[in-house]
C-alpha cells in the first residue's frame, strides 16, 4: 500500500527465514539440524541503536539472538563527505547518534551514480555491518533517497516484526503476523483433530505433510513393512533406537487417529493405509 518498490523488496517470505531447513526437514535427520554454524542469509531491517549495541563474536554480529550481517536502516543524512573512491554519510534514524555509512564509488563505471545525496534527505541504506577498532559502521551497497515518506513508518514496523520473527521460534509463533499465520494454519489441518501438542512438538520442524519428524519416521517404517500383519510396536522400538517407547506409542496413536495407519492382528501391529494391494 505505501510503496510497491524497494520497501518490500526484502520482506517477502523468503527474506526472513533464517533456517534453510525450516519447513522442509527430511524425516531422515532427527534433531540433527541447526547444530553448528549457519551463515545468515537474510537482510535484516534494523535501527542504528541495534547495530551499535550488537554483540560481536569474531566476525559475527548479533542483536539479541538475531544474527545480523546484511542490514537495512532508514534515516536522514546529517553530513556528507566525498573523496575520490567513496562517499561517507552520517545517517540518523533517531535511535542513537548518526551511523557512519560508507559507499564505494566506482569511478570507472559511468552507470553508477556517484552524486552525493544532500544532507536533510531521508534515505534507505542497504549494506553490511562492520566494526573496526570498536567503531561500528555500515558499508553500503545501496543508498536510496526516499520518495515516499511512509517508508519511515514501514521500516519501523518491519524492524519490530523482523526481530520478533527471527528471535526464539516459540515467540515467533505468537508475533508472526499475517504471513506466518496463514502458512501455519494450512499446516495445522492434519493435526487439528488430534493432539496439537504432539503436532507442534518440534514447532519449527514441521514438514510439508503436517507431521513432526518422529511421526514421519514411524510412518515411513510402517509403510515400508511388506508383511501382511504389519509391523509391531516392538519392531518399531528396535528400528528407532533413538526414540523412546512412549514417543513411539504417542506417534502411533496420532497416526492411527488421523487415519494414516490401522491395527491388524492385534493392538500392537500396524499397517499403513497408503499401501494398495
Amino acid at each position: 500500500m505505501w510503496n510497491q518498490g524497494g520497501g518490500y523488496g526484502e520482506s517477502n517470505s523468503g527474506g526472513y527465514t533464517q533456517s534453510p531447513g525450516g519447513f522442509a526437514s527430511p524425516a531422515a535427520s532427527q534433531g540433527g539440524e541447526k547444530k553448528g554454524r549457519q551463515r545468515a542469509q537474510q537482510i535484516v531491517p534494523c535501527t542504528v541503536s541495534q547495530l551499535m549495541s550488537a554483540a560481536q563474536a569474531e566476525d559475527v554480529f548479533k542483536v539479541g539472538e538475531v544474527e545480523v550481517a546484511q542490514i537495512t536502516i532508514v534515516g536522514i543524512i546529517r553530513t556528507t563527505d566525498k573523496s575520490m573512491t567513496n562517499i561517507q554519510y552520517k545517517v540518523d534514524d533517531m535511535t542513537g547518534p548518526p551511523m557512519d555509512v560508507k559507499q564505494w564509488v566506482d569511478t570507472e563505471d559511468p552507470s553508477v551514480d556517484s552524486t552525493v545525496i544532500p544532507p536533510g534527505t531521508y534515505v534507505k541504506v542497504s549494506g553490511n555491518l562492520r566494526s573496526f577498532q570498536n567503531h561500528r559502521s555500515v558499508v553500503a551497497f545501496s543508498v536510496r533517497p526516499l520518495e515516499d515518506m511512509n517508508e519511515i513508518t514501514s521500516h519501523m514496523l518491519e524492524v519490530v516484526q523482523a526481530h520478533m520473527l527471527l528471535s526464539k521460534p516459540q515467540t515467533s509463533m505468537v508475533g508472526g503476523g499475517g504471513g506466518m499465520n496463514t502458512s501455519m494454519a494450512s499446516l495445522s489441518r492434519p493435526g487439528a483433530g488430534g493432539s496439537m501438542g504432539g503436532g507442534y512438538s518440534g514447532g519449527s520442524d514441521m514438514s510439508a505433510n503436517g507431521l513432526s519428524p518422529s511421526q514421519n519416521q514411524v510412518l515411513s517404517l510402517i509403510r515400508s513393512c511388506p508383511d501382511a500383519q504389519g509391523i509391531s510396536t516392538q519392531d518399531l522400538k528396535q528400528r528407532l533406537s533413538g526414540m523412546s517407547l512412549a514417543v513411539i506409542k504417542q506417534a502411533v496413536e496420532f497416526l492411527s487417529n488421523e487415519g494414516h495407519i490401522f491395527s491388524t492382528i492385534d493392538e500392537d501391529h500396524f499397517k499403513s493405509t497408503d499401501n494398495d494391494d
Partner: protein
Amino acid sequence: MSVFESPKARINSSMLSQYISRPVCFVGRVEKVHPTGKLFTLSDGEGKFASVELNEPLDEELSGVLEVVGTVSNKGTIMASAYNILREDKGIPFDLELYNEALKVVHDFPQHYPFEIATSG
C-alpha cells in the same frame, strides 16, 4: 551533549509529559505559525497538539508534515534543534495516523526498537 548525538525517542503529544528535559523526535502536521516565526503548533496522528519553539525565526513558509528534533521543556513544549519537512511532493501523502500506530508498536516493543545504545560487550 548535542541532541543529535543522543537517541531521540519518537513520541506523540500524549507522551510529552513523560519526556521532560529529554531529546525527542516529534512528527506532526503544521497547524498554526506564530507571526514571529519562532513558535508554531503541530498536530499529531491522534489529532492532539504540541507547541514547538525555535531559536531562530523560520525563513520559509511552513506547511504539511514536519519532523522536529529537540528537547521537551518543563512546560511541555518542544525546544527544537532542527526540523525537516516530510516531503509529499511526489504525490504520496504521509499517513500520520499510521505513523501514530507505528509509534505505539515501537513503544510496546522496546526490546526490538531500542532508543538507547546498550553498553554491554
